[in-house]
């Protein structure tokens, strides 16, 4: 099952076989289509809106990528997003200092949940999907305890600044995404970053070559949680209010983004950039469908098809590339 991705040989790692390239091309094509339909699509403000809409999903998907690279699943993303959202909405802190404090709180909440996941999965040896399912339900409940119905409001400073554009061109939320991408670029080259891929590819081999598998797993869950926290912060900036179920609607989209970004669910292959652009593509697809007058009912239909087609496309290209290489 699904061995085409899992056993892809490292020699077939050309530019074209890369899931990232596929999703970038898809995004550009969709944007061209979008610009044909919407007159204002090429303006900075339209692009800024698009970026703002995509950022919460993109950062959440970036976090989920850590765990999926390990070959695990992390469902707690839905709970963390909701929890951070209601905490920020019930405890607004104004001003730049307050915003900084809020980010720290948001990331800490996420990292704490991630640490629980990590300890149970890495050191307890429990199945990740089971543990994170329980943690998702727990955190969702906690979110309901904090705020039992949609309401509250996020501090104005956060909701204004982070949805605005700097110098009228650069969307502020985009900078947060860039910061995440930059940190990933550094992390990817650290020992832990390399270990993450090694553990995802082959746990036994990684352990035998001296990698601390448990520690690597735990770190991955904590980093994933921290990013969910950041995503929750960005989500709150967009919605400006609290909703104890804010994260639930994003759960499936997070995994869709990761799949679209070319990260293999078997672990050890893919990356964070793909997931982020995958998220942006899904949100862009929604816009394209809206502006083409498709009934909102059928948006799921297209999202599902795009997911499947993206995976098939990566599979086919991988297959062709491998055959060419073997024949050469």
């Amino acid at each position: 099952m699904s061995t085409a991705i899992g056993t892809r040989s490292s020699s077939a790692r050309g530019l074209l076989t890369n899931g990232l390239t596929t999703v970038v091309i898809l995004y550009v094509v969709l944007y061209v289509v979008y610009s044909r339909m919407e007159a204002g699509a090429l303006t900075a403000s339209a692009f800024g809106d698009l970026v703002n809409n995509s950022i919460p999903l993109a950062i959440a998907a970036a976090g989920a990528t850590f765990v999926i690279l390990l070959g695990g699943f992390d469902l707690s993303v839905a709970g963390v997003l909701s929890l951070v959202n209601v905490v920020l909405a019930t405890h607004p802190m104004d001003g730049a200092g307050g915003a900084l404090m809020s980010v720290v709180i948001a990331i800490s909440i996420g990292a704490a949940v991630g640490l629980c996941n990590g300890i149970f999965v890495a050191y307890g040896g429990l199945q990740s999907i089971a543990v994170t399912l329980a943690m998702m339900i727990l955190t969702r409940g906690l979110a309901l305890v904090v705020l039992d119905a949609p309401g509250g409001s996020v501090s104005d400073w956060i909701s204004d600044t982070l949805t605005n554009s700097l110098w009228g061109v650069v969307p502020a939320s985009g900078l947060v995404a860039l910061a995440v991408a930059a940190l990933w670029a550094i992390f990817r080259r650290t020992n832990t970053g390399v270990a993450l891929y090694a553990v995802g590819k082959d746990q036994t081999a990684a352990a035998l070559s001296g990698i601390n598998v448990k520690r690597t797993k735990c770190i991955a869950f904590v980093l994933a949680g921290a990013l969910y926290g950041l995503a929750g912060f960005m989500l709150s900036a967009q919605t400006a209010s609290g909703d104890p179920n804010a994260g639930s609607t994003l759960l499936l989209l997070v995994f869709a983004s990761v799949a679209l970004g070319g990260t293999a669910f078997t672990g050890g292959q893919g990356g964070l950039y793909g997931s982020m652009i995958g998220a942006a593509t899904l949100m862009l697809l929604q816009k394209v469908l809206f502006s083409s007058g498709v009934q909102s009912f059928y948006i799921g239909l297209f999202q599902g098809f795009v997911m499947v087609v993206a995976v098939i496309f990566v599979n086919v290209i991988t297959y062709v590339a491998r055959r060419n290489r073997e024949h050469a």
């Binding site: 099952m1 699904s2 061995t3 085409a4 991705i5 699943f73 469902l75 149970f120 307890g124 040896g125 429990l126 199945q127 999907i129 089971a130 543990v131 399912l133 329980a134 943690m135 998702m136 339900i137 727990l138 955190t139 969702r140 409940g141 906690l142 979110a143 309901l144 305890v145 904090v146 039992d148 746990q203 036994t204 352990a207 598998v213 104890p244 499936l252 995994f255 869709a256 799949a259 293999a264 669910f265 078997t266 009934q295 009912f297 059928y298 948006i299 799921g300 239909l301 999202q303 599902g304 098809f305 997911m307 499947v308 995976v311 098939i312 599979n315």
Partner: protein, 346 residues
């Protein structure tokens, strides 16, 4: 009962455990899991008496079994896909399809509904599973993605086709199944017991069931041994969808109508029931007996927590904590501890 074989030789290497053990040892591990789940069930029932004396009565047990019946049916399909190393995330959408079609197609009065239209709905539902299976085998799409995508697609077709409000009411045959009684016992309880017996027999005693275990343990080896992996996979997903569709029909019979979100609350519990029942999410290990226990346990938890009269948030938190506790109890370390206690006694 606890006179089990020593396996401590592999204790040092966490990642090799449970991979290369077949036959007797595997069954024993699963037996311990299943016994554990049922013990927790009994414990939960016993403790719930302190909250509400009504709990634990014969009538209460009937209600629990009735409420658990949906989850038991759905979890069987989920369990089979998990057994072969897959996962079925399309279940909530297929439940909705089954429910919506049953309410719309199956005639309320004529007996034709029972003989023709209900099987027709089941066939439509199983076709979704066939598509899932073909995507997983021929197109090599990871099961997680394939079933997630097909679930979204099917749901949005449902939403579009019904315009948001499904019409129709429960056909007679379904309301009889869910509300009727035979000799003082609800028909649905009898049905679930028969269903479980057939399901357990199929999973543990037939060659089809054994093939699923073989595939889940090692798909490559199963293929070399001459199994038709693709056909088996397609059958498994089709079965899972048909069962989800049937659960949808049962829900229609129970609540006398279909809603679009009727399946939503069964996806995560179906996975939870399978995992709590001692199955490995990686496939190749688990019994339906354990899964039934998991489904019943989740239902008891739900009822007890509801009866506590707490706010929604606290209820949700408690149920999350209980699931976590159940998973911890299922942990191999805990099982080994139980075994070592058993050994010492002998």
């Amino acid at each position: 009962m606890l006179n089990l074989r020593d396996e401590s030789a592999t204790a040092g290497t966490g990642f090799v455990r449970g991979e290369d053990k077949r036959g007797a040892v595997r069954l024993q591990r699963e037996t311990v899991s299943a016994i554990g789940v049922y013990l927790v069930c009994i414990l939960a029932l016993f403790l719930s008496k302190f909250i509400n004396p009504e709990f634990g009565s014969f009538h209460q047990l009937q209600t629990i079994l009735t409420l658990a019946s949906f989850l038991i049916v759905v979890s069987y399909g989920q369990g089979l896909t998990v057994l072969i190393g897959g996962l079925d995330l399309s279940i909530p959408s297929v439940i909705t399809v089954g429910g919506v079609l049953a309410a719309a197609w199956v005639s309320t009065l004529s007996p034709a509904g029972f003989w023709w239209q209900i099987p027709a709905v089941l066939i439509v539902c199983s076709l979704i599973g066939v598509v899932n299976g073909l995507g997983v085998t021929l197109l090599r799409i990871p099961p997680f993605i394939m079933t997630l995508a097909s679930g979204i697609i099917v749901y949005s077709i449902c939403l579009g086709a019904t315009g948001g409000t499904p019409s129709g009411a429960a056909p007679n045959s379904l309301s009889t199944l869910m509300a009727g009684r035979i000799g003082g016992v609800p028909i649905v309880n009898v049905f679930v017991v028969i269903f479980c017996a057939i399901a357990i027999f199929m999973q543990s005693r037939t060659s089809f069931g054994q093939r699923l275990y073989a595939m889940g343990s090692n798909a490559t080896a199963a293929k070399i041994a001459g199994m038709r992996i693709n056909a088996i996979t397609v059958c498994t997903y089709a079965l899972s969808s048909a069962l989800a569709g049937f659960a949808g029909m049962m829900l229609v019979g129970y609540s006398n109508g279909a809603t679009l979100r009727m399946g939503d609350s069964y996806l995560l519990p179906s996975i939870a029931a399978v995992v709590i029942g001692g199955s490995s999410i990686l496939g190749g290990r688990g019994t339906f007996v354990g899964t039934i226990g998991g489904a019943i346990l989740l239902t008891i938890f739900d009822m007890v927590i509801t009866s506590l009269g707490l706010a929604q948030g606290w209820r949700t938190m408690i149920s999350g904590g209980l699931i976590l506790a159940a998973i911890l109890l299922q942990h191999e370390g805990a099982l080994d501890w139980i075994r070592s206690v058993g050994r010492r006694r002998n």
